[in-house]
């Protein structure tokens, strides 16, 4: 199956497309329609199967390395799933073939500190994690609630999404970007913000 043919099946809702790379790589740019499901060696295929909640659609995988691609295919097959498509040459090769991508902007903690007035900061950590302090003015919306609270947000504003390390915020950023919001992912999250001694508020 060619990439174009496979993407058509993704659009039709027949197949699932997984980007196996790390969240920070995914958040910068990823194939259109791909979900982020970073590879690991502890029964990764089983985790995919669990996330699919009983469905067994054909699966496509995207990654930048043939070793990881081979291990992932093996793991999916071991879990009883079908691999319909695999692309292991990374994003540059994907774009070189004029295949579609989705993008999210990255923001360093220093850039955010300098331009804090230009962003609405959303902290997607869980309430108990906020005790370490939040960025002044940040709005706390736990990741799990965000989907239901999108109506509180404004598509004319620029959002900066932050979590503890930058992983959850990467997923949230790409989701919000798909919904048409102007979002940037804060790389390194609060651990880097606090580590860089930028100011925090205690809720």
């Amino acid at each position: 199956m060619t990439a174009q043919e496979f993407l058509q099946t993704v659009q039709n809702g027949q197949s699932v497309f997984l980007d196996l790379r790390a969240p920070h790589a995914y958040s910068q740019s990823h194939p259109a329609g791909a979900y982020n499901f970073p590879f690991h060696r502890q029964n990764w295929g089983g985790a995919v199967k669990q996330a699919l909640q009983g469905q067994t659609p054909p699966i496509g995988i995207f990654v930048d390395n043939s070793v990881v691609a081979a291990a992932a295919q093996e793991s999916l097959v071991a879990a009883g799933l079908t691999v319909a498509f695999a692309f292991d040459k990374g994003l540059k090769a994907w774009q070189a073939e004029n295949l579609p991508v989705e993008q999210v902007k990255d923001l360093t903690v220093d850039e955010l500190r300098q331009n804090l007035d230009q962003y609405v900061v959303i902290d997607v950590r869980e309430p108990y994690e906020l005790r370490s302090g939040i960025i002044p003015g940040a709005v706390a919306i736990p990741m799990g609630q965000l989907q239901n609270r999108l109506n509180e947000l404004d598509k004319s504003k620029a959002y900066a999404i932050v979590c503890a390390s930058g992983n959850r915020s990467a997923s949230v950023s790409s989701f919000m970007s798909q919904q048409g919001f102007d979002v940037s992912n804060v790389v390194g999250g609060m651990s880097l913000w606090i580590g860089s001694r930028h100011p925090v508020e205690r809720p």
């Binding site: 390395n65 043939s66 070793v67 390194g188």
Partner: protein, 250 residues
């Protein structure tokens, strides 16, 4: 900082995956054929890291290196001291060079002795401090011991010169703060160390300053004499393994 020691107990070899958790860039130091090149790629992927450098602290004579295979799979060159007599194309490193991984960096010190091309890597995590947090000492400084000086060139004069270099290199490493952690390339029964090489795979500069008998010798002649007196037999097939790791056809 992500810091993952990858050990092979059968030969007492240590390798390391060191990366910046924020930016996702990583380097691999002294990858082992016994663990396989793929295990480094998979470990890195699992940690969300992209390997941008494969560094050898020296050309090894006791075990087969996976550095070239790993670098080839990643489409990069192996990084080695500019003094390494390797027959393949590599990225030459010089004293003071810094491998920048983002918030984590590795500064290179040439620490000859075990071999002329031996280097140490000073690892800093600038989100904690500019000060090196750990030093990967290769075969320059071990836990309880120092690297043997006779494997690169076993002729008497060369071994003596190498032992004197080792003395200087060890003294230089002792300029680091006591709190700096030491992660060498070997531990336990490895043939690259001497009788006092400990089975514990890591230590600190402070502990070695206090308790490593070679570090405490302040006279280079006595250091050389003691080092030579305590040599173990060379590892089996050392010359052949070294030339294979150098890329010279066996």
């Amino acid at each position: 900082m992500i810091f993952i020691p990858m050990w092979d107990g059968s030969l007492g070899c240590s390798s390391y995956l060191v990366g910046d958790s924020a930016g996702g860039k990583a380097l691999v130091v002294d990858p082992l054929q016994n663990l396989g090149a793929d295990s480094y790629i998979l470990s890195a992927a699992e940690q969300g890291l992209e390997i941008v450098a494969v560094v050898e602290t020296h050309v090894h004579a006791d075990h087969h290196s996976a550095a070239r295979e790993l670098a080839e799979k990643l489409g990069i060159h192996v990084s080695l001291s500019h003094k390494a007599p390797a027959a393949f194309a590599f990225n030459p490193l010089h004293d003071g060079d810094v491998i920048d991984l983002g918030y984590v960096s590795a500064q290179l010190w040439e620490t000859p002795g075990h071999t002329p091309d031996s280097i140490s890597l000073l690892i800093a995590d600038t989100t904690r401090s500019q000060e090196p947090w750990a030093v990967l000492t290769g075969d320059s400084l071990f836990v309880g011991d120092v690297g043997r000086p006779d494997l690169a060139d076993p002729t008497v004069d060369a071994v003596k010169a190498a032992a004197r270099d080792q003395f200087q290199s060890v003294q230089r490493l002792m300029n680091l703060e006591d709190t700096t952690e030491i992660y060498p390339a070997h531990y336990g029964a490895s043939a690259c160390g001497g009788l006092f090489l400990n089975h514990k795979p890591m230590s600190t500069i402070g502990f070695e300053r206090k308790w490593n008998r070679f570090v405490q010798l302040t006279d280079p002649e006595e250091f050389t004499n003691q080092l030579l007196a305590l040599l173990k037999p060379p590892p089996e097939g050392a010359a052949a393994i070294r030339s294979e790791n150098l890329g010279q056809d066996a």
